[in-house]
């Protein structure tokens, strides 16, 4: 099963969700695709589809409304998956931490695995965070135990949230 672990570490596809903020971190996440930072050399790809993704990149202050969307997207991702919170807003809410309409950090809404601090973080720091999350994917349980774990722990994915009822 070591080949499975190897493949998981070498091919994390990420899905980026901007919860709504100044877009500073989002622009830096887009910069990861440029020839200067070139994430694809690690096998990391951007997908626009949570169903194809292994990593969820969250940037921005998580509002109670965008938090619902964030939770929905998280549940649409098939496991094993990991979440990377990028920027101080996604970590703690930053200067908006005591706003009435914001959750203080993405980890109040979904489980976050890697925290990348900064306002906005350097793209190098983001690459570091994404590779740390890829290490986490590598350590995820393989084979049959996984399916049992998933059934017990996670709510039914794919159909969760408002979209599933439509």
């Amino acid at each position: 099963m070591s080949i499975v672990r190897w493949a998981r570490g070498k091919s994390p596809w990420y899905f980026h969700y901007e919860t709504g903020s100044c877009n500073g971190c989002a622009i830096e996440v887009f910069a990861l695709q440029t020839p200067l930072y070139d994430l694809e050399r690690f096998g990391i790809m951007n997908t626009g589809n949570p169903k194809h993704a292994d990593l969820l990149l969250v940037t921005g202050c998580v509002g109670y409304r965008s938090g619902r969307v964030l939770r929905n997207l998280y549940h649409q991702m098939p496991g094993p998956k990991a979440v990377v919170a990028i920027g101080v807003c996604a970590l703690t809410g930053g200067i908006f931490h005591d706003c009435y309409n914001l959750a203080p950090g993405a980890d109040k809404v979904i489980p976050v695995d890697v925290y990348v601090p900064g306002c906005a973080p350097w793209p190098e720091a983001m690459i570091d965070g994404i590779l740390l999350a890829a290490e986490k994917l590598r350590g995820a349980p393989v084979a049959r135990d996984r399916r049992r774990l998933v059934e017990e722990e996670e709510p039914p994915a794919g159909g969760a949230g408002e979209e599933g009822k439509a």
Partner: protein, 290 residues
């Protein structure tokens, strides 16, 4: 030996994914280099496939799985037909069945993105299928047979007598490999995309892996068909196939996406027009050719 065809088919179906994966990795590496990036390693597609196969099984409905498997089955069958030297017309029908399976899979879910992608896949089928049929007709007019096994023993290369058909086939390859400017239904291995992921939106995990594997078979099949244009020796055929692939990658990297209407117009006016001229020419004066 009775088992020989079975052994050949088995061998080709085992080796084709290895070749298809390496070619896909080469495509991604070369595309990255053309964009002044370092790019992924050559084995990257294999890591992707293994990862996809070991993700959780998330499906929208059971029919979707059936169609993903049918797509793989038909494309693999088409490749086996090519390897065994069967009928080119039968090969085209099998390949079209595969594409239709993918379309039905896209239609079987409620996601509007998937349905849009499926509709665009039909438009792609509509654009390239007539060119492929004319290509087979032209091959028949030149060699007197629809059988691949007869075409490959034809003493002269086909390319000098089918130059316009070859240009049309280049267009078919770019459309069929879902390369820019025709990555309408879905785009593969690209960060840029439209309509989420088009026809593949609701496929995930192992089922996306199945479709990826089918794409590898499709790639090998299309390059194999390109090799028929110079089938007098294996090396010449491989060279032509490689040139076609390089041309497709280059076009992919220098062009932006067009609309489906533009694609249809271009394929029917330029592609079909060229192919038709070649067929008429072969029909009128082909008999006197050496």
């Amino acid at each position: 030996m009775v088992y020989r065809p079975l052994l050949i088919a088995f061998g080709v179906l085992v080796l084709a994914p290895l070749l298809g994966g390496l070619l896909t990795g080469f495509d991604r590496w070369l595309s990255a280099r053309l964009q002044a990036r370092v790019g992924p390693p050559l084995w990257q597609p294999f890591a992707d496939l293994v990862k996809l196969w070991h993700k959780d099984r998330l499906t929208v409905n059971v029919v979707q799985i059936l169609y993903a498997n049918a797509y793989l089955l038909f494309v693999a069958a088409a490749l086996a037909e090519l390897a065994l030297g069967h009928d080119l017309l039968m090969l085209l029908f099998t390949l079209a069945f595969g594409t239709i399976s993918l379309v039905l899979g896209g239609f079987s879910v409620r996601s509007p993105y998937s349905r849009f992608g499926a509709q665009r896949e039909i438009m792609q089928l509509l654009a390239y299928e007539p060119i492929l049929v004319l290509m087979v007709v032209a091959i028949y007019l030149r060699t007197g047979s629809f059988l691949v096994s007869r075409v490959v023993v034809f003493p002269r290369p086909l390319l000098p007598s089918l130059p316009l058909i070859f240009l049309g086939y280049l267009l078919v390859v770019v459309i069929k490999l879902r390369k820019s400017p025709f990555d309408l239904a879905t785009s593969l291995h690209h960060p840029h995309q439209e309509l989420v992921k088009g026809i593949l939106t609701d496929y995930s995990g192992p089922y996306l892996g199945i479709i990826e594997l089918a794409h590898w078979y499709e790639l090998v099949l299309l390059l194999g068909l390109a090799g028929l244009f110079w089938a007098t020796s294996v090396w010449a055929a491989a060279g032509v196939a490689l040139l076609v692939y390089l041309a497709a990658i280059t076009v992919d990297n220098v062009s932006a996406r067009v609309t489906w209407a533009w694609m249809l117009r271009f394929a029917w006016q330029a592609g079909l027009g060229l192919a038709a001229i070649n067929v008429v020419w072969l029909y009128l004066w082909g008999a006197g050719m050496p």
